[in-house]
């Protein structure tokens, strides 16, 4: 077990998979000498050369399209979209091509490709660099959507995503890159579709994604001092969603709060709410609560940006409200 950063965990996953399988290659903007906008691929060009660490022009549609074409003839590309906001340029390729090729070709094609991209606010880069757009991809059949919150999950899930024979949207978080955590030594994988209880508790279930998991855990510490024991559960992958694990938790606590970045309206929280009430309505002692970004773009000013994303204090308040305390 070693304590490493989320970035390092991702880099280790990329390196190990590239060493293991010559069909794995990286493609994206500034990923070579520069190591990617957030430094995740730093050093990999030197190790694997420009044939496998391919820096492209600024061409998101062509990056994803090229990854799709390479995947369909037998490679395992890992594409990087510098900011999740820029994935909009590649939406046709993702939604109409990558997600659909296998199904509309009657199961003939395999598309083992990963699109890595960082989401999330908190760096003061405003409306076109700070979005969380995962719900769009959850909505499209044919994709898998992965959102790790810790270095350990980042590594284990990225390795599984690269080995998966399906297209995976791998959503990282900019504020998590520098966070540290224990990661097992050597080879390990975390299967897609397995939620994890990050903290057990009997009073309320908080389902949180990505960076919100960390905030939910600190809120849980604070609430514990007040005698409220919160269970924090991280789905880790949104497609496939481990709804069973969430429902099991709900049946223990009878109270649910869902926390995510991304706007509340049409967000992943709404889907999780719907699935919980379909399966565990009789176990609920209070209406399910959601805490997410308000339905506005991410503003620039520090104070406004802080209001546009859930924080520890608001998570704690939402739990108290949920429990009527």
């Amino acid at each position: 077990m070693a304590k490493i950063s989320y970035s390092q965990a991702l880099r280790d996953a990329l390196r190990e998979e590239m060493q293991r399988d010559p069909d794995v290659f990286l493609i994206g903007e500034d990923i070579g000498v520069h190591g990617g906008a957030f430094g995740v691929s730093r050093g990999l060009l030197e190790e694997f050369g420009p044939q496998r660490v391919i820096t492209t022009p600024i061409s998101e549609a062509a990056i994803v399209g090229a990854a799709a074409g390479a995947a369909v003839v037998g490679c395992r590309p890992v594409a990087e979209i510098m900011y999740m906001d820029f994935i909009t340029i590649a939406m046709d390729q993702i939604v109409n091509q990558v997600a659909k090729m296998r199904y509309m070709f009657g199961g003939k094609a395999r598309l083992p490709l990963v699109i890595r991209t960082p989401s999330g606010a908190g760096r003061g880069q405003a409306a076109q660099h700070m979005q969380s757009l995962e719900a769009w991809f959850v909505h499209v059949p044919g994709l898998k959507v992965v959102m790790p919150s810790t270095p350990c999950d980042a590594k284990g899930l990225l390795k599984s995503s690269i080995r998966d024979d399906n297209p995976v949207i791998f959503v990282e978080n900019k504020l998590l890159y520098a966070t540290q955590g224990d990661v097992p030594d050597g080879e390990f994988l975390i299967p897609l579709g397995q939620a994890e209880v990050k903290r057990p508790g009997r009073d309320a279930t908080v389902v949180a994604t990505s960076r919100m998991v960390l905030l939910a855990l600190s809120a849980a510490d604070r609430l514990a001092e007040e005698g409220i024991e919160v269970e924090v559960i991280d789905p880790r992958t949104l497609v496939p969603l481990d709804i069973e694990a969430i429902v099991q938790s709900v049946k223990r606590t009878n109270h649910v709060l869902i926390v995510h970045e991304a706007c509340e309206r049409g967000g992943v929280g709404a889907e999780i709410v719907a699935q919980i009430q379909e399966r565990a309505f009789d176990w609920l002692d209070a209406p399910i609560k959601r805490l997410a970004n308000p339905n506005v773009p991410i503003p620039f000013a520090r104070n406004l940006e802080a209001l546009a994303v859930p924080d520890e204090g608001r998570i704690a308040s939402a739990v108290r409200e949920l429990l009527g305390r």
């Binding site: 022009p57 990854a67 369909v72 046709d92």
Partner: protein
């Protein structure tokens, strides 16, 4: 370009097969035997035929919404194609794709595409994979004049050049993007001239001359296989029919269409040439035609006697 007798006749046969197939598809659609929409390739047969003749069977193509001709020329099987167009379980895509999504990966057909321009980045990626994996293969990408105005085209051609991949980017300029003439939407004389922006060769070829297409594509294929990078080609052709079957075509004159049919029929031109060379007689051409008709008829019978997909297949083939 001088070709063996057999290969010349083979190309003639492919063009005739495409035409008979497409005529039948158009009839079936008009008779409401087919659903959705079909975009037929009549008038453009020389492009797919000449281009695919310059490829090996293990090379790849990407195709478009007007893709039946590409598929036939690359070795697609008529019964499975027709069954797909009928939405039957025996079709290339088990009835889930239809006319606009026919794919046969074993024949190197990486798929038709319902989104104009979207196949170009995919073709570039497939060519990149050929390069990375050290396969001695090239990828030929068919797209239209309309696609040459999309961002996908410009991003992908540039990327192809930057990465020097073995791709042949073949624009089928059939003069019409739905109702919009290329003279309106492309403000330069030749789409092939756009190659200059990306530092790759660009060449125009007469898309009604199958041998010219073959020769031009062959050069680009050789260039790609030799590791010299991509080529942009433009085949000037003409879409005889509407954008889709049933298109009222208020945007162009009957005379314009008639002129193209009279002066630029790729099959008639090819026959005249082969006949003059003593390669093909009228009787042989007649035999080729009747064989094509019976193959198309057999494909229709196969499709019509094939079952619809099982309801349970709705949920199959989404994830690997």
């Amino acid at each position: 370009m001088v070709l063996s007798r057999e290969r010349s006749i083979e190309m003639y046969r492919t063009m005739v097969t495409i035409r008979r197939f497409e005529e039948r598809v158009a009839e079936l659609f008009t008779a409401a035997r087919l659903r959705g929409s079909v975009h037929v390739y009549i008038g453009e047969e020389a492009v797919a035929t000449g281009a695919c003749a310059a490829l090996r069977s293990d090379d790849y193509i990407t195709s478009t919404h007007r893709g039946h001709g590409h598929c036939i020329a690359k070795g697609g099987q008529l019964p499975r194609m027709m069954a797909e167009i009928y939405g039957r379980a025996t079709g290339y895509c088990k009835g889930k794709g239809g006319s606009m999504h026919i794919a046969d990966l074993e024949a190197g057909i990486l798929g038709a595409n319902g989104i104009v321009g979207a196949g170009i980045p995919i073709a570039v990626g497939a060519a990149l994979a050929c390069k990375i994996k050290g396969l001695d293969r090239v990828v030929l990408c068919f797209f239209g004049d309309g696609a040459s105005n999309t961002g996908s085209f410009h991003e992908a051609v540039n990327l192809a050049s930057v990465l020097k991949v073995p791709a042949i980017l073949l624009c089928e300029n059939n003069q019409w993007a739905v109702s919009t003439p290329v003279t309106y939407s492309v403000p330069i004389p030749n789409i092939a001239d756009r190659a200059a922006s990306y530092g790759i060769p660009g060449k125009v070829v007469d898309g009604s001359d199958v041998l010219a297409v073959y020769g031009t594509v062959k050069e680009a294929v050789d260039r790609g296989r030799a590791g010299e990078g991509p080529t942009l080609l433009e085949a000037k052709t003409y879409r005889w029919g509407g954008h889709f079957q049933g298109d009222p075509q208020r945007y162009r004159s009957r005379e314009e269409v008639e002129r193209a049919r009279r002066e630029h029929d790729p099959i008639a031109l090819c026959f005249a040439k082969l006949e003059a060379q003593g390669v093909l007689t009228a009787e042989q051409a007649e035999a080729i035609d009747s064989q094509a008709r019976s193959e198309v008829q057999a494909a229709v019978e196969f499709a019509e006697s094939s079952p619809e997909p099982e309801p349970a297949s709705l949920f199959e083939d989404l994830y690997a």
